[in-house]
Amino acid sequence: MIKTQALPPNPSLIWGLRLAALLLLVALLSPSLTPHDAYAINLDRRLEAPSFEYPFGTDRLGRCVLSRTVLGTRASLGLALLASAGATVAALALSVVAVFGGRSGDRAVRLLIDVFISFPSLVLALAFVGIAGPSAFAAVTAIVWAWWPSEARVMRSLLDSARHRNFVDAAFLAGVHPVRVVVRHILPQVGPALAVRTSLEMSSVIVALSTLSFLGLGLQPPHPEWGTMLNEAWPFVGTAPHLLFGPGLALIASVLAFNLIAEGLRVRVDSRQLQEW
């Protein structure tokens, strides 16, 4: 009864993907997109309001906020991508151990997940950075440590139910190579749900990493990063509130992009499930 039919229009997914593509493009081309030198200090023109010359104004050292926001796309999104990928890979590896590693493997992984998931994730990340000392590398590692458990919990249960379908057992019994079973029969089942999960993970990781930078625990100045820029803007919110605009807009657009993608994909996954069962 499975019929191929045109999928209904999905504005969330389309706009999310467009926004993400735009941000990716900005990140790749950023050095040639900046109107001014993002590091150039001009103390005569500190904390200026937005103008034609400086569309987002200038910061406390007279640097162009627009240029710093554009250049910051690389650090902000690049580090988030790195942390997100790290957490996903760790979670996937441990889930595979749990599902295919026999009863003791499953028990050990589940215990590990249960213990680490019991810490509020941002609290765990904060403690980790505090011990390791603030740096971009420490922030990324901390996010990986704090974010893998919730990913692993979802992946383990997805892989587990995918592994126990009859056709997977049939493939194993027919002597198909285990790697081929995983690639051809198990991963396609969990792919869509995993895509939703990864997209949501990415949006929460962007927020968490920028929060660490905002607290002065991520990428260190003078490198432009949205959280760090907001940290520098903080003392001037009363006198130069325009400083919040540029990095805030970029940050919210990035998080929104991945939330929209997740939202759009979720509709797809749900309608697929409705069709299949």
Binding site: F119, L122, V123, L126, A127, G130, L215, L217, V237
Partner: protein, 313 residues
């Protein structure tokens, strides 16, 4: 019910024990020698003699399991060591900061419950109306704005439009309600969407249609027929936001200058004050676990099927 209670309690204690191990190991295998750091802090030159003496005083010459056992024994007497920065007992510092954070978290939690119920039920009344579309857009927007940006914007707006000179933080009500509202916005709206979905799903169930056919009032149906079914899972969901609140509290306390756990942790990070950081991690973790355990018990008690199963257990 009693067997369930016992199992849940046992599991909670096991989790806390394992969490204490994580908190201990995080500091024990930390890079950098705490003895050298402490000597530098005291202004004493690090000679082999002073290092050795301090190492013995800090109990660092024993193997790891022994040190963990001793740490646990001290922990059981609520002795969390002394703060490197202030020299005061860590337990006293925690006790002073904890009420600020708990107050903020619980007020936020109440706001989350109110916000999710009001938006969820309002949207469920008109499942495909304009309000639902509006709330859907608002929710996606709210979960996409970082808490700290919202807090900064609120402070900036207050300063520019309302002319606040400083962010008043002390025990004043506004200093509590504004940060609590900022924290509760995203999770409150997000859970509101779940409430809407669950209410709509439940309305199609046979037992609710029977209640409608019997002529019960809408309010009665909402509480007795729908609320009873979806209530327990909502309690669990509300409790899980407590972890988010403890994390978000760090930022909000920092911006609104509340002397809570988050601010304590940030000061500890700046001063490389490992004992305080360790206590912070453990304290926040245990608080989160206890709230979740309490929510599990509450939702089991709220669920008539589980409440009646005490004979079987």
């Amino acid at each position: 019910m009693r067997g369930r209670l016992g199992r849940r309690l046992l599991w909670t204690l096991t989790t806390i024990a394992l969490m204490s191990m994580v908190a201990f190991l995080l500091v024990a295998i930390a890079p950098g020698d705490p003895v050298v750091a402490e000597l530098r802090f005291m202004g004493v030159p690090a000679t082999p003699n002073t290092v050795e003496a301090l190492r013995r005083e800090f109990d660092l010459d024993a193997p790891l399991p022994v040190r963990y056992a001793r740490w646990i024994v001290r922990l059981s007497r609520l002795d969390l060591g002394e703060s490197i920065a202030s020299g005061r007992p860590v337990a006293a510092e925690l006790a002073r900061a904890l009420p600020w954070t708990l107050q903020l978290a619980f007020v936020s939690l109440v706001m989350i419950v109110a916000l999710s119920l009001s938006t969820g039920l309002a949207a469920a009344l008109h499942p495909y109306g304009r309000l639902t579309t509006f709330l859907r857009g608002l929710t996606i927007m709210a979960i996409s704005i970082p808490v700290y940006w919202l807090a900064l914007a609120a402070v900036g707006l207050g300063a520019v439009v309302l002319g606040w000179s400083t962010v008043v933080s002390d025990a004043s009500l506004g200093g509590l309600l504004l940060p609590a509202f900022i924290l509760s916005l995203a999770p409150g709206l997000a859970i509101g969407r779940v409430v809407r979905q669950r209410v709509i799903d439940e309305r199609l169930e046979d037992h609710v249609r029977l209640a409608v056919a019997l002529g019960r009032s809408p309010a009665q149906i909402l509480i007795q027929d729908v609320g009873v079914v979806i209530g327990p899972s909502l309690v669990t969901m509300w409790a899980t936001t407590f972890g988010y609140l403890l994390g978000g509290a760090v930022v909000v306390e920092r911006i609104f200058d509340r002397p809570g756990l988050g601010n304590l942790a940030l000061h500890a990070i700046a001063a490389r004050d490992y004992p305080v950081l360790q206590a912070y991690l453990l304290c926040a973790g245990v608080a989160f676990v206890l709230v979740n355990a309490a929510a599990d018990l509450l939702s089991a008690w709220l669920d008539p099927r589980l409440r009646r199963s005490r004979v079987d257990d």
